[in-house]
């Protein structure tokens, strides 16, 4: 068998793996994106058979739509809140359950992971019950410490309601990233910590100098993943809990897209919002990757 034949057979072998994947990706990812961009140039109700070409009008209108800006602000507020909240808590629990020989570590790992196996819809409904001003757990709990019955309208502050969506979103995300970080911490050779301990480094010093630098890659992946899933997936929790209200105060781009496309019959406008979500996700990913380029192992 000459080298040319071998090379040709190898290429066929490689192509047999790559082409189906490319086809699948093209049909189910690239094509819908292109189609969404196509629709965004039309004034279309989403029900009619005819569409009116309007060029960039939908995009121009978005710039003058205060709800769009509010939704973008809410999206990034949730991204920041979830990244900070989830990473801090997931790291804390991951360290606590791996570094101290805690007997019930396995049990607590399972407990913290439970929200990840629950549907986001169920989580939204559950937290709606918690926040219910009349029969909710939160007000009932707070009433234990006061002489009068507490009846705070947690999801009715209008301008600040978006804050109330952070606890369920963080609670739902901790478990997965905790497991990811636990796996990363457990892959660090114990001899590193033993050596540091002999040198007199305390737990805090060991965390900053050994644990954090060696799990940084997993942390980067986690932060990017939280950001992506929030920008693209906060729709569900928002829609279940508030439907973007009261008075559009909790609107995110995903929920506003749905509202405009399927409730107010502006499908072209909804498609343009969808395209902007894609662009924002790409820009945010690139910026975050640039910001997180440095290697903490080199720096520590």
């Amino acid at each position: 068998m000459n080298s040319g034949t071998v090379k040709w057979q190898r290429n066929i072998f490689i192509a047999s793996f790559i082409i189906p994947t490319l086809l699948f990706f093209g049909v189910f990812t690239i094509y819908p994106v292109v189609q969404s961009l196509y629709y965004s140039f039309f004034d279309w109700s989403g029900m009619s058979e005819t569409k009116t070409f309007v060029g960039f009008d939908n995009f121009k209108e978005m710039f003058h739509d205060p709800i769009v800006w509010r939704a973008i602000g809410n999206d990034y507020f949730l991204v920041a809140g979830k990244v900070i909240g989830i990473m801090l808590l997931a790291t804390f629990f991951a360290v606590a359950l791996t570094r101290f020989g805690f007997k019930l570590a396995g049990f607590f790992r399972s407990i913290f992971f439970i929200p990840n196996v629950i549907s986001v819809v169920v989580i939204g409904v559950l937290w709606n019950f918690i926040y219910n001003p009349q029969i909710g757990f939160l007000n009932a709990f707070l009433s234990l410490f006061t002489s009068e019955k507490v009846s705070i309208t947690w999801l009715g502050f209008s301008d600040h309601t978006i804050w109330m969506l952070l606890p369920p979103a963080i609670w739902a995300g901790i478990g997965f990233y905790m497991i990811l970080l636990i796996a990363a911490i457990q892959s660090i050779p114990a001899s590193y910590f033993e050596a540091a301990s002999i040198e007199g480094a305390g737990e805090w010093k060991q965390f900053w100098s050994i644990t954090l630098p060696l799990v940084w890659e997993q942390m980067k992946v986690s932060i990017l993943n939280i950001m992506m899933t929030t920008l693209n997936g906060s729709f569900v929790i928002v829609w279940i809990m508030t439907e973007g209200g009261p008075d559009n105060s909790t609107q995110v781009m995903g929920s506003y897209l749905y509202q405009m496309a399927f409730r107010q019959f502006h499908f072209g406008y909804g498609a343009s919002i969808g395209f902007i979500i894609l662009v924002l996700s790409l820009i945010t990913t690139i910026v975050l990757q640039r910001l997180m380029r440095h290697d903490p192992v080199e720096m520590s």
Binding site: F28, P32, Q35, S36, Y39, S45, G46, M47, S48, E49, T50, K51, V121, Y131, N132, P133, Q134, I135, S151, T153, W154, L155, G156, S158, T161, F235, V236, W239, I240, T242, E243, G245, P246, D247, N248, Y258, Q259, A261, F262, R263, Q264, F265
Partner: protein, 455 residues
């Protein structure tokens, strides 16, 4: 062109598949059963003759009915379709039904392959939008002399006439429901509270209710169309000398209608309730189920809702709970009751393949027998004139039917607002109830949207 339609339909299907949709609750688990199977050749010539009684015209071919299953259930639909099938044995009737059917069939409407007959109710479907999109058959001329299976003119037996879009009729109201205010008669009797008949008596009793430690009023803030439909719109009509044309002008996007003193007067009634602390603060964040549960637990004395409430909450109504209902409490002392109707309509698709069967079905369902049958099986009054007092319909339905047929009641016909304006009104009302804006700001906000959609 066909290719483009198919691409558009596929696109919608892909998007729908990617979106989780949580709609209004329904007890039905009946999934949609739409098919895209090619239809057989329908009957050759359409006639206005009643299908079930005319033996000269046999309805054949496929005939597909799309109906949303929500608060009114599907018992009536099952029964009436079975009866229509029995009357037309050679017709192959297909049902596309379920709580998600409007979403499931959307690609077919876009692709120019809709079902023949559609019941316009539930999310996604909006009659005004469907008319603007050219999806519905113009029934104007047909309805002028269309007779039902009993030989009565259909237009004569409608309790409320069909809504007109630029002078044309595309859909006919099947249900004649009403928004209004509910209370628990048993609780009122026990506490010695007077049942309200107008706004002054409502305020007076609300003060007593509040003094007794119960919150007077709850609404569904998550879906503000409840308070708009039951309180705001009747209040606007009352303040406009009982003339509901102001609402029709609002639906026609006439800015001056929104700037009318009647609108401000109505909004100020909400402000008065709010400032007297009668509105349950929980309202702003809760959905219909939560607000209804609080009402059934007597935590709130009044709730704004539609006549489907007792039926919707049938499993949760406590023993001894006795529904009191009035279509409006916003009229001044001695003023007329204003009933803001909530209807669901039926229509024929413009691209229906079997229009004659669809028209025959309209003739079949708009008959006096169906008035009682609808009331019994759906728990709501029908839009067909007919005495249901001897039927097995629930008592509150009979009471409502009395209100709706009383000459002293101002009955607001079906009015569909522009979707953007409707949303602006809902958001603004929510904001008003939590003191975020003033009535003048409500008007400013909404008229800004009206001007924008009128361009």
């Amino acid at each position: 062109m066909i290719m483009k339609k198919k691409i558009a339909a596929l696109g919608i299907a892909v998007i729908l598949a990617a979106v989780s949709l949580v709609g209004c609750g329904s007890n039905s688990n009946n999934g949609g059963a739409a098919t895209n199977a090619p239809t057989k050749e329908p009957a050759a010539e359409a006639t206005d003759a009643p299908a079930a009684t005319d033996t000269t015209v046999k309805l054949t071919g496929d005939f597909e009915i799309q109906y949303f299953v929500g608060g009114y259930g599907d018992k009536w639909w099952k029964k009436v379709i079975a009866d229509f099938q029995a009357a037309n044995p050679e017709l192959n009737i297909k049902e596309s039904a379920g709580p998600k059917i409007n979403d499931q069939n959307r690609p077919r409407w876009i692709g120019g392959n809709p079902p023949d007959f559609v019941y316009i109710d539930g999310p996604v479907l909006n009659d005004r939008q469907m008319v603007e999109d050219g999806q519905l058959e113009d029934l104007t001329d047909w309805l002028k002399d269309a007779k039902n299976v009993d030989g009565d003119l259909i237009s004569d037996i409608l309790a409320q006439p069909a809504q007109q879009f630029d002078g044309k009729v595309y859909n006919i109201p099947l249900v004649l429901n009403s928004w209004g205010v509910f209370w628990n008669k048993a609780l009122f009797k026990e506490k010695g509270w007077a049942e309200p008949t107008d706004f002054p008596s409502f305020l007076a009793v609300s003060e007593k209710i509040k003094a007794d430690g119960i919150t007077p009023f709850i609404h569904t803030g998550k879906y503000p169309y409840y308070i708009n439909g039951s309180f705001l719109y009747p209040a606007i009509v009352s303040a406009n000398n009982n003339d509901f044309s102001i609402l029709q002008d609002m639906a026609a996007n006439k800015v001056e209608a929104f700037e009318s003193p009647a609108v401000l007067a109505a909004l100020n009634k909400i402000v008065e309730m709010r400032d007297k602390d009668y509105i349950d603060k929980a309202s702003i964040q809760i959905n219909h189920t939560d607000s209804q549960m609080l009402f059934l637990q007597n935590k709130d004395a009044f709730i704004v809702n539609g006549l489907w409430l007792p039926n919707e909450m049938a499993k949760d109504v406590p023993a001894g709970f006795d529904f009191g209902f009035i279509p409006s409490i916003t009229q001044e002392a001695g003023g007329k009751v204003v009933a803001n109707t909530s209807t669901a309509t039926v229509a024929i698709a413009k691209k229906a393949k079997n229009k004659e069967a669809a028209k025959a079905f309209l003739q079949f369902i708009f008959s006096k027998d169906q008035a009682s049958q609808w009331a019994e099986l759906s728990g709501a009054p029908s839009n067909i004139k007919g005495d249901i007092s001897s039927s097995n319909a629930p008592s509150h339905v009979k009471d409502a039917a009395k209100y709706l047929t009383d000459p002293n009641t101002v009955v607001i016909p079906t009015i569909t607002y522009n979707a953007d304006v409707d949303k602006a009104m809902m958001d603004a009302t929510d904001a008003l109830t939590i003191s975020k804006i003033t009535p003048e700001e409500w008007v400013k906000r909404v008229t800004d949207v009206v001007k924008k959609v009128s361009k």
